[in-house]
């Protein structure tokens, strides 16, 4: 964990899951697993969040909610799909009201498999999400420099010097 220099905040939304993954997400925050020791807090406000934890698949009713939460989150942001339903629809894939995994609506960075996903796996997924966030942040830092029409190599060295 030594490479975690930032404390990402997560927002959790239950798509159309069976609740199993949701209570495991909550279990991550409680004393046995205790995500908060890494500075990770479950927030209710999309504007405060860095990582979007989605459980369950998308359906007709919640597709707009998922999109809105994703759009309200500030850049850089990472999406972690928790559980097999969020990845592909899982056991409910054949149901008439299930459109498929979360990646049919918003881009997903990390998939956490399992039915229900274990807390250890969810924590692992969030930690991978932190890595994705760091990459995205680095890519964002480069962007303004590119707009100044500086050669890419120079940008790289400037970044390295700052770091």
């Amino acid at each position: 964990m030594s490479y975690v220099t930032k404390s990402p905040w997560i927002i959790h939304y239950d798509g159309s899951s069976c609740n199993g993954c949701d209570i495991e997400v909550l279990a991550c925050l409680t004393p046995i697993y205790d995500l908060e020791r890494f500075g990770i807090i479950n927030t209710g406000n999309p504007k405060h969040a860095d990582i979007f934890l989605v459980t369950g698949s998308v359906n007709e009713q919640n597709v707009n909610v998922v999109k809105q939460i994703y759009e309200q989150m500030p850049e850089p942001k990472a999406v972690v799909a928790v559980g097999i339903c969020a990845a592909s629809g899982g056991i409910f894939k054949e149901c008439y009201n299930v459109m498929g995994g979360i990646d049919t609506v918003i881009p997903v960075d990390v998939y956490v498999p399992g039915c229900a996903a274990r807390p250890e796996a969810i924590i692992d997924g969030v930690v991978k999400g932190i890595g994705v966030l760091a990459e995205k942040r680095a890519a964002m830092d480069k962007k303004p420099a590119i707009m100044d029409k500086k050669p890419a190599a120079t940008v790289q060295t400037e970044d390295n010097e700052e770091a």
Partner: protein
């Protein structure tokens, strides 16, 4: 007489682990009317009976809800077994009862934690969930899963619990009883908790009966109603008596659930003592016969109702579940009328909403 405003509540809201939407019509700080709208988690899994054989369908039905998953599996298996006239072994019935009571313990502790979080008592929330993990460890040891078990099958159960593990279950739950007493005393004796809950969201016995409330919600209003009295499983042999409170407010609902946790611990000990030796499952083969059956059992949230209709094939013709939260929603709308806006999260929590059960 103030201006009327509509405040949307949910579907994404900090106190709700699951999405439900309420339009709250408020006047000053008082809620005049609450209009619920649901359907955010609707998957349509009752339709899957056409695609999955009756032996496979157990896995789907268990995933109606991750909190009461064992109960759903049991209800479905009970309905199908009765439809096919299968007598399951006595030991399987005892094992099912033990697992069902364990899941009631974990569900109620989960709820007590969420309630504590709802009124801002963070450390109590953490302690409830810390204690709950011990039940999950027992589940993991005996079934292999933490929240979804897949241990119930048509004709019996998939796994046996041996003597040593039964002894461990009794020892661990008895040990938890001591620890839980401290937490329960905080809920029952702490004056700030009492101030926050007592006298809020009162549902009279008449209203509870008229609105057909079920489960702890009905029992907190003094209604003598518990499906375990009908003797499903082995409850009739264990000498079961429901926990009844009469005040009908949030505090009474909290106390009913606390008392039920103690009761579950007692039931588990008794069942572990009385469990007979023998087979844990009978072989099941062949088609489902023509006919229909209704099974009822007491989930942690109240009466749950399973209807199965067979049509001389490997597939059920129709399967229907009526879940407790669905039945308690009218009562929620009733107690929300005239409450303070600040009490709304508390009232929603005290019906113990399970939205994925409700919408399936």
């Amino acid at each position: 007489m103030g201006k009327r405003t509509i405040i949307p509540f949910g579907p994404q809201h900090p106190v709700l682990p699951e999405p439900v939407h309420l339009d709250l019509v408020i006047e000053d700080e008082k809620v005049i009317e609450a209009i619920p709208s649901i359907g955010f988690i609707h998957r349509g899994l009752e339709k899957l009976v056409e695609k999955k054989e009756y032996t496979e369908l157990v896995y789907v039905i268990e995933r109606i809800c991750g909190i009461c998953s064992f109960g759903h599996g049991w209800g479905y298996c009970h309905a199908v077994e009765s439809l096919m006239n299968i007598e399951i072994p006595e030991r399987a019935n005892y094992l099912r009862t033990i697992w069902h009571e364990l899941s009631r313990m974990h569900s109620h502790m989960l709820w007590l934690g969420l309630l504590a979080d709802g009124f801002g008592f963070e450390s109590l929330f953490m302690h409830c969930w810390r204690l709950r993990e011990k039940v999950l460890d027992l589940f993991e040891k005996t079934t292999g899963g933490r929240v979804i078990f897949s241990v119930c099958k048509v004709g019996g159960v998939r796994k046996d619990i041996d003597k040593a593990d039964l002894k461990e279950i009794v020892n661990v739950t008895r040990g938890m009883e001591k620890e839980f007493r401290e937490l329960a005393d905080t809920f029952m004796k702490d004056y700030s908790v009492k101030n926050r809950l007592a006298g809020i969201g009162v549902l009279s016995k008449e209203d509870a009966l008229e609105l057909c409330t079920v489960g702890p919600m009905a029992r907190a209003s003094g209604v003598y109603l518990d499906m375990r009295l009908t003797g499903h499983g082995v409850y009739d042999k264990l000498g079961f008596e429901p926990c009844i409170e009469t005040a009908g407010d949030c505090y009474a609902r909290c106390i009913v659930r606390i008392r039920e946790i103690y009761q579950s611990i007692d039931l588990i000990s008794k069942a572990a003592e009385m469990i007979p030796d023998g087979e844990i499952a009978v072989p099941v083969k062949g088609n489902l016969p023509k006919g229909e059956f209704i099974a009822r059992l007491e989930q942690p949230r109240g009466e749950c109702f399973y209807y199965a209709k067979g049509a001389d094939s490997k597939f059920l013709e129709r399967f229907r579940v009526r879940t407790p939260t669905n039945i308690n929603l009218p009562a929620l709308v009733k107690i929300l009328q005239g409450c303070d806006l600040a009490d709304v999260p508390m009232l929603i929590l005290t019906i113990d909403p399970c939205i994925s059960c409700t919408e399936r």
